[in-house]
Each structure stands twice: as C-alpha cells, then as structure tokens.
C-alpha cells in the first residue's frame, strides 16, 4: 500500500445515484469514480439538475446508492450506523434550521450531539470544540444572537461552525455560497480552504462558483451530462472538461482565464 492509498478517506467506485421506485430506478448520474485524500478541499461543479445534491445526499448516507460502492476510511459506507457516521462526517445543508429561535451558541452546541450524554450535557472537551468552531468562523461576537437576527452570510458561517463543532474528519457542504454576496462567497470558500489546510479536514462542497473553485480547490469533481470527471482543476482545464458543462451558444469557457464568458 503506498502512501497515497493510505490517505484516501472517501472513495466512490462505479457509483450511480438517483431515486428508486417500485417500477424502475431513475438514474441521475452513473459511473462516478473518485478518491479524495485527507485534508483535501474538493469542489463539485455542474449544471442545475445534473445531480450534485443527489450525489452529496448519497455520500452522506441520506439516501442509498443505486449501484456501486462508497468507501469511507476503507470501509463500505453502508456498514456505518447513522450514529457512527455522525463522528466521521458532518454536513452543511441548503435548508435553514427548522427553528430559528435558537441562539448561535445553542445551534453550534447541537453539533456536539454525537458526543454528549443522554441529556446533552456539555463537557469541557465539548466546550473547547465549540469555542474552536466559534473562533475559526469568526462568530464569537454573534454567540448570543438569535438565528433569526442573522444575515445570510452570518447564518452560513454559523452553519459551518456547527459542522466544525461536530469535529469530523470530513465536512460535506451543499452549495455553501448560494444567496451570498461576492464578499461572503469568497469569505466562505477561503474559510473552507483554510480549514482544510490547517486542520487537515477533508472538505467537499458543491458550488456554482466555478471560477472561484478553480482558483481555490485541490481537486474538482465535474458533473457533465454524460460523464463525471475528477482531477486537479488545471488538468481538467487542459482536458477541456468545462467546455461541455453548459450549452455553448449561451456561455463559453475560456481556458486561459479559467472563467466563463457570455456569448453575444
């Protein structure tokens, strides 16, 4: 076993995702293959409706894969109980918390649920993890504000802080930059980059900010209509993988600048 293989934390082999009904499976994406290493920041890009969220839901165990296997730390994802999974993998979802009457501190503390006792008492270790999450996301000053008082940008930082408090080696985020202004989009992505490099957490996020993702991520998972590609952003550009993402008559990818341009 070489060092690269040892460091693989999340791996998909010939994975196909979608929804199964009684009559037939409706496959949304198939033949997805990738292996993500510890401490990598990985972006997931693709057009609307291509199946990014479905893939993320499958990777987080919220829905079953139609075919193929997901390995988490070399073990099949299906073998993890939801309780075990909670200490390996945390999520930031697009949905807002059901109750916004929670204070920021309460919401972040909930991230400690996998570790607390039956009634949820916070130990010293829990408090340390919560403080770390507050500091890392610069939300310490917000700690006693209510969630309904926060702006979208602040709320997203709190959601990331909650995942950080859960203290898992992997964090999976579904479109963390949606609804944010350009400053907060850059802020959130830079925060993810910093967390990946400083805490050796593996971070996988889906995004529509393809140009920002190309600049920041270690690897990109590109979901195109017929295939899914996984590689370094530069190699993906060289191979022209972004060209087929969107209909060419409206928008075109410029390989030199790494940006999409509107066609006149």
């Amino acid at each position: 076993m070489n060092s690269e293989e040892k460091n693989i934390i999340l791996e998909a082999r010939n994975l196909s995702v979608g929804y199964s009904t009684k009559d037939a499976d409706s496959v949304i994406a198939e033949a997805v293959n990738f292996s993500i290493l510890k401490g990598e920041l990985v972006g997931l890009v693709g057009a609307n409706g291509i199946g990014k969220s479905t893939l993320l839901r499958t990777l987080t165990g919220m829905q079953n894969a139609l075919d193929g296997t997901i390995f988490l730390n070399g073990r099949n994802l299906n073998e993890y109980s939801s309780f075990q999974l909670a200490t390996h993998l945390s999520v930031v979802l697009t949905e807002a918390p059901a109750s916004k009457n929670l204070s920021v501190l309460e919401m972040i503390s909930l991230g400690r649920q996998p570790y607390t006792n039956w009634i949820g008492t916070l130990s010293e270790e829990d408090k340390k993890a919560i403080n770390f999450a507050l500091e890392a996301t610069e939300t310490t000053t917000l700690a006693h504000r209510k969630c309904y008082e926060l702006s979208d940008g602040q709320m997203q930082r709190v959601a990331i802080a909650r995942a950080l408090a859960q203290d898992t080696p992997i964090i999976i985020l579904d479109e963390p930059t949606t609804h944010l202004d350009i400053y907060h989009r850059a802020y959130v992505l830079k925060l993810l980059k910093k967390l990946a490099s400083e805490t050796q957490k593996t971070i996988l996020f889906s995004t529509h900010e393809i140009d920002l993702a190309i600049q920041l991520t270690d690897k990109l998972l590109v979901m195109a209509t017929n295939a899914t590609y996984f590689d370094d952003p530069c190699k993906l550009i060289e191979a022209g993988r972004f060209d087929s993402l969107f209909p060419k008559e409206t928008i075109d990818f410029d390989g030199k600048t790494g940006r999409f341009k509107i066609k006149n």
């Binding site: 949905e95 918390p97 109750s99 929670l102 309460e106």
Partner: protein, 343 residues
C-alpha cells in the same frame, strides 16, 4: 445546551405560583374553606368542620391534582408534537387521539340504548367512559404508529393523523344522527370535559400514565433539540429518526390519551401553553422548555378550574370553554404585543 441560573430562578417562581394556585383552588368553590384549615387538614389535625375535610379530601384534592396532571401533560404533549412536526399549529390531538376517544365514548353512549335497561345503565358508569375513551385513543394510536413504521416523512404522518381524525369525527356524526336527545346531551356533556368526580384510583392511574409520558419526553429532550435543526441535520448528527418519532408519538399518546380518557377532550392548553412559554423564555432548548411547559400547563389549568367552579356559586362551567376563554386572549395579547411568533 445548558440550563442557566436565571432559568432555575424562574422555575422556582413558577413552582411557588403553582403551590399558591393549588391552595386557592382548594379553598374556593361553592363552599369557601380558609387556607389555614386546608393546611391543618393536610397536616393530619383535621378541620373544624368534618364536612370540610370530606370536601377537600374526596372532591377538591383529586380534582386539583387531576387539573395539574391534565394541564401539564397536555401542554408537554403539545410541545412534543410542535417540535416533531416543526409546526406551530400542532397540538396533542393533531394525530386524531381526541377524535378516537370521542368515537369510543360515542359508541358507548349512543350505543348503550341497544343493550337497554339495567345493563345499559351499568355501561354508562364513570369507569366505562374512561375505558371506552382509552380504547378509542388506543386504536387511533395503533393506526398512527403502524403508519409511522411505514412512512418516513413526518409531514405525511401529520396529514394521515388529520385524516384519521376526520374519519372518526364523521363516524361520530353518523352515530349522533341516529341517537335520541338524551344520549346526545350526555355525549355533549362528556365533550365539555370535566375535572371533577375523580376517584383516587382514577387519579393514581392517571398519575402513572403521566409519569411514564413525562419520563419518555425527558429521555427524548436531546433528540427534540436535534430535531430543531430539521430532520436531515438531526440524522447527520446520529439521530435515529424513526425510533425518535416512535418514542415521541408514544409519549404524546400516553399523556394525551390517558388525560382525555379521564377528563374528556380538553382543547387549547396543549396548543397554547408551548407558545406562551416560548414568549417568556425565548429559547427552544427542550431542557428548559419541558419543565417550563409542564409547570405553566399545570398552573393555567388550575387557574381555569378555579374560575370554572364559579366561586361562591352553585354552578360549574365546562372546563373546556374556560381554558379557551382565558387562554386565547392571553395568547392573542402576547402575539400582538411582541409582534413575533417564536418557534
């Protein structure tokens, strides 16, 4: 999530208010009994009038205890349902428990004439009402739990519960159509709710159900807090959604089902008290909300019962009307004043 010192103080104040309301409730009624006499009865010294001792021990005390159990239990089950369904309109009876109880009682009362004579009157003793009501809620509970096992989506469970409620209400309507005026009156009196006329055995059974339901709720408080973030987040933090849903519905059914069986379908308390408490406590943490809702529910019910027995008069108003008459303006006033529904 921790319980801070301020909350402890507030609980203490609530508790004192509850004891005060309890004593006032015992003291006031068609016959007014001084509070020092009540204390003397409790300390075993007896009262200056033997009838007072009798009124307190055999009528007012079981009634006051029933009021506290019913108010607290209904309020807690309302809180459980609101959090489980993440819906501020949910209450203890959203899953059709009270409709099930109504159906049981309706079949008993409206069907009793079929047996006629002595057997008919035997069927209509107090215990048979309790048993019929409990059986009705239990059948609806079984149906809802069977659905819970098959369906993942809690919103679907909510709708199915409402449908069960509609069906049982419809059956009751059909039964009422075919029954005579006297039976209808008896059924309607049951549906007004009544805290009085409880035997000590009844209070004991109700207390046991109450303790079981509250224990299940306390055990679920961590899961309930997790559910505040939504089902997907809760699951990602290791919560077993189906098992949690099952336990929460079971706790609600035990609480609301047993209470409805003994005192009838008391509306409003279960829906309103959690909202009242959220306005004052401004938190969604169930470790704070559960005891607060429990105390406030008991307190509100005791106050309502005190008003319902119309001090210094012979009349007793239906408790079900009083809870809404007192409670609804309070909730409206709070919402208008704060202009914000905390949930």
């Amino acid at each position: 999530m921790q319980i801070s010192q301020t909350y402890r103080l507030q609980f203490f104040v609530l508790f004192i208010a509850l004891i005060a309301a309890f004593l006032v409730n015992l003291s006031i009624g068609s016959v007014s009994i001084p509070i020092d006499e009540i204390v003397s009865i409790f300390s075993g010294n007896g009262a200056s009038k033997e009838t007072w001792r009798y009124i307190i021990m055999d009528y007012r005390l079981p009634k006051a205890i029933t009021a506290m159990l019913a108010g607290g239990g209904l309020a807690v089950s309302g809180l459980l349902m609101q959090t489980l369904f993440r819906n501020p309109l949910a209450g203890p009876f959203v899953l059709g428990l009270s409709s099930g109880a109504s159906l049981g009682v309706a079949i008993l009362i409206l069907g009793a004439s079929a047996f006629g004579g002595f057997f008919g009157t035997l069927l209509l003793s107090q215990w048979s009402l309790v048993v019929a009501s409990a059986l009705g809620s239990f059948l609806v509970l079984l149906a809802v739990l069977a659905v819970t096992f098959r369906i993942k989506d809690t919103m679907a469970i909510l709708i199915i519960g409402l449908m069960f409620g509609s069906v049982t209400t419809a059956v009751v309507s059909v039964l009422s159509y075919f029954s005579n005026a006297e039976q209808l009156q008896q059924y309607i009196f049951w549906s007004f709710g009544s805290l009085g006329n409880q035997s000590w055995q009844g209070v004991l059974i109700l207390s046991l159900c109450f303790i079981a339901g509250i224990l299940l709720s306390v055990f679920s408080s961590k899961s309930l807090n997790g559910l505040l973030l939504g089902e997907n987040y809760a699951k990602s933090m290791g919560l077993h959604i189906k098992r949690t849903t099952f336990i929460i519905i079971l706790a609600t059914s035990i609480l609301a089902g047993s209470i409805t069986a003994f005192v009838g379908p008391i509306a409003f308390v279960g829906l309103a008290v959690p909202h009242l408490v959220r306005q004052f406590y401004k938190t969604s943490n169930h470790l704070v909300l559960l005891p607060a809702v429990l105390l406030c529910g008991s307190l509100l019910m005791l106050i309502c019962d005190t008003v319902a027995q119309l001090p210094f008069s012979e009349f007793t108003l239906p408790i079900n009307a009083i809870t809404s008459l007192i409670g609804a303006p309070v909730v409206i006033w709070l919402l208008v004043r704060k202009r914000k529904l905390f949930f």
